[in-house]
């Protein structure tokens, strides 16, 4: 161990950009075992592991790095899966440079490649058959309903099932995985990775109810009646919008619609708006607005769909963008052009129906606000025009109006429209818990997993307390 200054940082081989833009396969290769080992040996085994401190799941990263370095992959996998429901998924899609690897104390020498090792460990576990089902030895007789088969719901489901609960997961879509399946492009997370988890879940006795849109068919009240506790983990799907002149022109789409269509297409489904070209970037000049991870997913999907030109507009600069710097680098390699310090001001159309030009206003960064981020200020007379055939708005997401959707007005909301929960993660309704983006607002998968796990433990406490009182 502690070889960080002797061994160079090395990520698994990246497929050449020219090759990778031609398909939707994952862009990173696998670590070769010896690389995983030598990279893990770089870890300093800190007294205060800032990687863990900065990890929402508080993964015991130094421990499984050491075990990997020692060649004890099975122990490493067991350690990694102790705190993380989907280590292979986090290894792939977490913005490590903002979390664990960003906290790594040797990042001046190149941070430890934590994410890649995590993925390597867990993929090895899948290959070796170490990933087991988790049906409990004894059922505890309690039943929990979970709304949403995304990362938060799934993380909670696993924990609850392990504790002996009967677990039912409801989702309005036809597949298990939520954003993991529909939101995240294949080149970051191949769908097979999610599918094998689904199988593990089903084999462990978790029951999925798909295409079950609560409030629209099965009522929320009925659901509460069926279960001893309910967890709402629906995520946030409503796109945030920028009301600008020309917003209602054709050729301006929401990021999520665009990504879902692409993913469904990739899964072999027929998607009408894709087929008709509305959500297909092929042959188009594409402009994506936004600087988050969703925007990155959109630009890179567009490149792969065969867009003639892909541009990303963001109103702050590179240093102040919310998305992962690593993703920006990958996108740039793949030919995406970034226009920093630029915000759309108007969508225009020569022909009337479809957008063909965006007026862009140049920005500069003003002083830092309370959150420490510098907010952009428009520069007068700095406007210019850009050609566009397809504009994808990736401006973030907002919660849907759940009280209305669930027809449950007792459900209290925060000022941002997310669900209000107490410290025990319980909503204003007894026995109804909430976790993930619907509480936190749009955030990272790893946060959803963390919340889901925490909610599960709160639900268990709630159930046990109920049991104790009943006894």
């Amino acid at each position: 161990m502690q070889k960080y200054h002797k061994t160079e940082q090395k990520y698994p081989e990246l497929r050449p950009s020219r090759q990778r833009v031609k398909d939707f396969d994952e862009v990173y290769g696998e670590f070769r075992p010896e690389n995983a080992q030598t990279q893990s040996e770089r870890c300093l085994q800190c007294g205060v592991p800032f990687c863990q401190v900065h990890c929402p799941l508080h993964n015991n990263i130094p421990d499984w790095l050491r075990l990997t370095a020692e060649g004890r992959l099975r122990d490493a996998y067991e350690m990694a899966s102790r705190t993380n429901t989907f280590p292979e998924i986090c290894g792939r899609i977490c913005p490590q440079d903002r979390l664990c690897e960003g906290g790594c104390v040797v990042k001046d020498f190149g941070a430890i490649t934590i994410g890649s090792v995590e993925k390597y460990i867990t993929e090895t576990a899948w290959q070796e058959g170490w990933v087991e089902t988790f049906a409990p030895e004894r059922e505890n007789g309690y039943s929990v309903g979970i709304i949403g088969a995304g990362p938060a719901g799934l993380a909670a489901a696993e924990q609850l099932r392990r504790s002996g609960c009967e677990v039912h997961v409801y989702d309005r879509y036809d597949r298990v995985g939520g954003l993991l399946i529909y939101g995240i492009p294949n080149f970051k997370l191949e769908k097979e990775v999610v599918a094998r988890r689904e199988k593990q879940y089903r084999d462990s006795g978790i029951q999925f109810h798909l295409e079950a849109d609560i409030g629209n068919g099965l009522s929320f009240a009925e659901l509460r009646g069926r279960h001893d506790a309910v967890l709402i983990a629906t995520g946030v799907y409503k796109a945030r919008d920028a009301k600008l002149p020309g917003s209602d022109l054709g050729g301006i789409v929401e990021a999520l619609d665009y990504l879902i269509a692409s993913n469904k297409h990739g899964l072999g489904e027929k998607v009408e708006r894709f087929a008709n070209g509305e959500l297909n970037a092929k042959g188009k000049k594409v402009i994506v607005i936004g600087g988050g991870d969703t925007a990155m997913d959109c630009v890179r999907t567009a490149v792969r769909q065969g867009a003639t030109k892909v541009t990303c507009l963001y109103r702050r600069d590179r240093e102040n963008m919310p998305g992962s710097a690593k993703e920006v680098l990958r996108a740039e390699e793949e030919g995406v052009e970034f226009v920093w310090l630029s915000a759309p001001e108007e969508f225009r159309s020569q022909k009337g129906k479809r957008v063909d030009e965006i007026r862009v206003c140049k920005m500069r960064l003003g002083p830092a606000d309370a959150s420490g981020r510098r907010s952009p200020v428009p520069i007068e007379d700095g406007a210019f025009g850009m050609d566009a055939d397809l504009v994808i708005k990736a401006l973030g997401f907002e919660p849907e109006d759940l009280p209305v959707a669930f027809n449950e007005m007792q459900l209290q909301l925060s000022q941002w429209g997310t669900l209000k929960v107490n410290r025990q993660m319980m909503t204003s309704l007894d026995g109804v818990f909430a976790a993930g983006d619907i509480v936190r607002g749009a955030s990272l998968v790893v946060w959803a997993i963390a919340d889901g796990r925490e909610a599960a433990s709160e639900i268990m406490k709630y159930i046990e307390e109920k049991q104790r009182r009943a006894a």
Binding site: Q2, H5, Q45, G47, Q52, R66, D108, E137
Partner: protein, 1514 residues
Amino acid sequence: MKTMAGYEDMVGLYHPEDEHDACGVGLIAAIDGKPRRQVVELGIEALRSVWHRGAVNADGKTGDGAGIHLELPKVFFRDYLQRVGNAVEEDASFAVGMIFLPRKDFAAQEEARLVVETEIIRFGYGIYCWRQVPINTEVIGESANASCPEITQIFIAGKADEDEESFEKNLYIIRRRIENEIRERHIQNFYVCSLSARNIIYKGLFLAEQLTTFYPDLNDRRFASSYCIFHQRFSTNTNPAWHLAQPFRTLAHNGEINTLRGNINWMSSYEASFGSRVLGEYADDLIPVVPPGTSDTGALDSVMELFVRSGKSLPMAKLLMIPPAWSLDPAVPEMHKKFFEYCNCLVSPWDGPAAIAATDGRWVLAGMDRGGLRPVRYAVTDSGLLVLGSETGMVPVKGAEVLERGRLGPGEMIAVDLKRGKLLKDFELKDALASEHPYAEWVQPIVRLQEIMQGRPQKEGEKEGAFAPVFSDTELARRQLAAGYTLEEIETILLPMVRDGKEAIGSMGDDTPLAVLSGRYRGLHHYFRQHFSQVTNPPIDPLREYRVMSLITRFGPIENILGEQADLSEIMHADTPILLTAEYEAMRAHLEERGKAAMVDALFDADGSPDALRRGIDTMLAAADAALSRGAHTIFITDENAGPNHCAIPMVLAAGALHTHMVRTSMRKKMSLIARSSATLDVHSLAVLIGVGATAVNPYLAEASVAAAHGKKLFGDISLETALENYRSALAGGLLKIMSKMGISVVSSYRGGRNFDAIGLSRSLVAEFFPGLISRISGIGLRGLENHVLAGHRIAWHEGKVAPLPVGGYYKYRAQGEPHAWEGELIHVLQTACATGSFKQYKRFAQGVYAQAPINLRDVMDFRPDRGPVPLDWVESVSSLRKRFIAPAMSLGALSPEAHETLAVAMNRIGAASNSGEGGEGPERYKPYANGDNANSSIKQVASGRFGVTAEYLNNCREIQIKVAQGAKPGEGGQLPGFKVTVEIARLRHATPGVSLISPPPHHDIYSIEDLAQLIYDLKQINPDAIVSVKLVAQSGIGTIASGVAKAFADKIIIAGHVGGTGASPYSSIKHAGAPWEMGLAETHQVLTLNGLRHRVKLQTDGGLKTGRDIVIAAMLGAEEYAIGTMSLVAMGCILVRQCHSNTCPVGICTQDEKLRKHFDGSVEKVVNLMSFLAEEVREILAELGFKTLDEIVGRSDLLRQVHQGGADLDSLDLGPLFTQVARRGDGPSICTMTQRNEVAPSLDETIIKDAKEMILRGEKIQLSYAVQNTHRSIGTRLSSLIVRSFRPEELQADHFTLCLRGSAGQSLGAFAAHGLRIEVAGDANDYVGKGLSGATIVVAPPPSSRLVTKDNTIIGNTVLYGATSGKLFAAGQAGERFAVRNSGAKVVIEGCGSNGCEYMTGGVAVILGAVGNNFAAGMTGGMAFVYDEEGGFPQRVNDESVVLQRLASSHWEGILRDLVEEHARETGSLHAQNIVGQWDYTRGHFWQVCPKELLDKLEHPLEDAGYKVAKRA
């Protein structure tokens, strides 16, 4: 009660039993056994010449005690008796009792007289009369006078038909009866100095030189004696206690008994079975052998007296109690080994530094401990006298009269048989004793465990001869859970022990909560903190001096230790107390077959029923009692039968309870206690178990865990047997280390000694199960333990799937584990604050610290203001407060040069101080840089390695700090691995780049408190301006140690806490040694105040100080200065990686790697900001509390209160003793008022400088001549200060200033003597010649009139050239022990030396033209040694772990050797050297060349030349 008579009661944290003493001791004997007046006069004379080994009380007049033991001057007393009207025949036998009676309480005095008379008459003797001893109280100090007893003599008539032997024995029994009766009647201030028909003791609380003034009797010429034993005491305490003055009835002792508590316990368990041919019917009168409240020497004396009165000879008694280290010494004959083995079976050694002078009436004897840790020099004169003492020259004997000058080596003795009129040396004495009985036959029946192991049938399931218990995966996991294992514990503690065979290392101290404050139960052993030696006795180096240590463990009953022959037929012998399961099983089977074994479960019901734990303990004790009464003698207590329905009793508790029970019922010596313990994993848990009384331990669950890991192939190809052996040797090494840091060398003396502080154990629990263990703040009791064990048990044995083991977080932070004071977030906030200078940001940090769960004792304290606030403006300034902050010792070597200099520059800039640490400092830093930055550390440290400690170094500072112990590893040495020794570091430390450097555990010139006084004296000579501070680590009893340090003229005392320390050390030391500074500081402040010493020393504290609040609390508990270590590193960028030992620090602070050092991002400003923040917060708190200056609150512990009572599981948590305001003695204030340093007595140098200052300053060559004696200490040192301050070395010739001295030079001759100085002594010299030699030349040779054969006689003392960096020494004679230890540059020729010669040497050349002692060149990593081995046998005296030895094979090296021998012959006129040179072709074949292994590939001139002509072998 512990106290016996006249003690003050316990106050606050002061406990009288912590007191230590040390001294000067000696004897004079007429070898013909005929009384002479001369003997008495010389004894009185000698006492006058050891005054500097004693100490003076705060009143300036009260000594710590002195006394003299003489043959009874019968003529004098008979004349007296006749004069006062007694009819005494000329040949009538009579006895005299010298008795201290209560002086002020007349009723008690009357009662005491009555008791004395009654017991005498009851035994059938008549009484002549009482005599009031004439005394002169004018010469004693105020406090001695206040406690002065009524000093009387009683005269007892002997019986005509009785021989002297029998009379003497009866007098002994009478005295014991008197003492017991007096204790029964609670009469205070009564003491019998002596009661004998043969001898008498005059002693008291005065300075040594006042002996005859106080007791005019002694001036009477009729006081004649064939021997006299004398003693001068230096005690750490200043409570006047007349009875503690020495000599005692049998012996006088200079040293310390480290194993006292265990020895006394064992002794009391023998008591029930005393049976002596001689004392027979009176056995009951002898109990207790060691009366309560006896000092360590008193206890040693009591037991030795018992042995000699019961018929053993005095030499035999010495060997029983203070045996030599024999088992690994190849020079000990087999017959002696059998004899020593027999002795060891009977008595566990009384271990510790000891020079004793003793007599039983027939023998007069002096003896030395096994380590040779005290000086004893002797001379035999042609008038038939043996003159012996701590120093040579105490009694002036003319050179021409001396037949022999010698010294006592480790474990040696010398004796005069007064009856036969014969002087006997060590070997003769031992040989005679060993051949007295057929000891080989006597020890023959002892069964060796190894033999049983070899003979036993293979067990099923046993692989490769090893047998670890096999559990299924789930069962193993459950058991591990129940025992409290974590993955961290297994992975980072257990497995490395298997892989490396030794303990894992960590860095950066301990910032987790004290066990008693933690929300998690970590096992009972976490409440025990290891004791360690500091100042009053030296720790041992268990790695390089393992030959004096032993883990040999004997099982089985010893019935009667006083009898002629003890029955050893049931004794079993094992090499270690750590039993692997295979051995455990074999032993059990062996004993079960013979009906001698009993299995006893240490379990309690897991059903949650009330008091289950107590019932479990009772059941266990009852089962053990029953087994013993059935005839078993070995109790196996085990928790292996724990399961769903039964919890394990914490094994430490089970073993402690059983041991205590058996001691109380006097059965302990008849049984062995073997603990099969699930919770024993690391070395600390093992040490606690043995420390509370387990005979041996079987760590079965750890073994099973090792086996499981072995099954997973985690150790490569090694066999399970090897894996387990590695684990055992790691445990054994760790146990030796823990014993050694207490200065204990044999496990039998450590066992049951409870050498711990309990921190957070309930007082009643301790009193019941661990009596004698010190527990000052109370804490968890039985109920709390029961709850914790049950909670763990429930998780472990929960139905359904077994839970995974917790990940840990105790050693390194984990989100799921223990809190750590240094959290990631806080580190960042503090670093931002320091980088930006934002006090607001700093306050965020402080708030974050305050919001943490309690970690330290101060976290459960708060302020109790006694007044309203004052405006902030009124409070003293930041600038003024910052000056009290110190950047504590972190060496250049540990720190990178960048970090080290940044700290120094920052602290200098704000007028505060930084400490160089142990590693020297480059002279270029002594002057400010061109840009004005001053990188000179104003505190220079002197540590045990003495690296770079030169006269120049010591003259460039304001303060010299003696590091006696450090928080990270008190009592341990250190090692700077070769890869960290860069060219730069090698330059500073006078070493070779790439060669590792060892810091020994002790300062080899501080084995005792008077040695510390001497070192302080040396340092105050070499720098006439600097103050001297002494760094100690908190532990119970530190207050009395600090008092001793204050009396040794220290100006400042640093109390470090256990948490601190940035240094690398074994985890068990970081985690389990030392106590919180809150306790140590409070105790020190209280005891210094009680003793009236507080005003003459400043107190400083360190250990995890992080906020202004911490500093204010430290002030209230008594500290005036505050060291900020870890935090100043954090300010410079440290992020607590805790890998300081691996040279991989990513922020360039704690590394020597060039590449990494570039990443250092610290700055002077960041450190200055930190200090300013702390000062500002202190100001805010002071304003809030209503004080204007920090001085106003120093020692105001009444302004503190406890705000948290600890967890619900605690019986109580009582910080009250920390807050006690003690009464001051005298008018000394309770804060330091010294504006200058405490000045020491002037040295001869004062005269020298007066005589020649002008000439010296003009740089004239001069030669001065003086007569010297042993009271002239540190000659040349003060002069050297003047030299280095006035000249650069190149300006002076080697003999520019020459001192010609005649006589016996005192200690530290030529200490730190600088280039340009030449000292010639015609005579001899004492210890520490050439200590820290810095360029001077010293020549010591016998006076021209001497008849001595130089190579056969001792001419210089112990620890010569310790830490010498350059210069030369030629001594025509032998040196004592530890010659040239840590020499790093001096060239020296001598003609023989004691043990441990050239130890840890890193440079220079040592030539020894004669015999050397054992363990030569241990840990020597540099320099070269040549030994002239005429007799043969040198190779077996070498510790060849780090050196190679060969015959001369290089003309280069032969040339160097020959030049030095010639120079020696020239300088000293030694005939021996002249003979060697004269027959060089012949004699060169007798030389051995000793070269460090690490040096072999770095030598400029290799050890072998191609064309070298090998000398003819003799």
